[in-house]
Symmetry: C2
Subunit: 174 residues, 2 copies
């Protein structure tokens, strides 16, 4: 019976065996795994910043001051998450927040001087190392993978999944 126990599931992966039916769960799991593995590398640059917040800093560096809503749109996440992340980054002094002059509702988020230095150092150091490590992991098919991901994202924007499944049902009725 101990033999059965070990054989039963010692190296099986249910998500893998379920294929495209659980693609979302599998991508999420792998994404979280990668973020967790990348975190120690990123944290070598002080102050430690969550892996998921580095793109926010990169967006500010690239575009200059942005509103909460703009950041949410650029990063493809919900607004309250950005509010929270910005609050945390402001707390450690990497970003500064002001109220937009032309619209009192808008909050303008920008890199602080410390934030500017942080991003510059990250570009030359940890970001580069992370990219290389991930490229090594992808063993040459990185570009192809990114293209597939892009294609799925574009496909979802064009036509949501529920619309694809609805058509399937109509086919069944015919």
């Amino acid at each position: 019976m101990i033999y059965n126990m070990l054989n039963k599931n010692s190296s099986e992966d249910t998500l893998r065996s379920l294929g495209l039916m659980t693609l979302g769960s599998r991508l999420k799991r792998l994404g979280e795994r990668l973020q967790a593995e990348v975190q120690p590398i990123l944290s070598e640059l002080a102050p430690p910043v969550a892996a998921g917040q580095h793109p926010l800093l990169a967006a500010l560096s690239k575009h200059g001051a942005l509103t909460v809503g703009e950041l949410a749109a650029l990063l493809g996440v919900a607004q309250p998450g950005i509010t929270r992340a910005v609050g945390q980054l402001a707390g450690i002094g990497l970003v500064a927040v002001t109220t937009a002059a032309e619209d009192g509702r808008r909050r303008l988020v920008s890199l602080s001087p410390d934030g500017v230095a942080f991003v510059a150092a990250a570009r030359e150091g940890v970001w580069l190392r992370v990219e290389k490590a991930v490229a090594d992991l992808c063993a040459g098919f990185g570009d192809e993978l990114l293209a597939h991901i892009g294609s799925i994202e574009d496909g979802l924007a064009r036509k949501p999944l529920t619309a694809r499944a609805v058509e399937e049902r109509q086919d069944d009725l015919a």
Copy 2:
């Protein structure tokens, strides 16, 4: 200026432009997006079950009764998450939990009669429709994408990311 605002970021995606450096964040985002889009389809089968919990039911259906630890290993997630999910599924009557006879620490989780019927119906209905919708979304490259994902998962198991980045640093020192 309104023109500038719109042009600034109307369709740009920071994660996409950052490429492999933010692969984890991007995979996580897409995975959560897919789970969210799949949820309404799955919820057509009563009772509603979270997208992330369907694989747990599939694992029980395939392997029979499993312990909490075995489920965590099969699904590649942490044990407390399984404890919670099992509690929820037991709450809606799809799984049953007993104590293993040969080891009083182990909890044996199995599909209830309602759970067996649920899985059977899902197999013929919503799981099939989800798989087809996702395959449609992948536009023919589904198998290739799954292979890439598998390769990354295997690559992480063989050699963690931090080990890959460490070697990079040693190269820099030389």
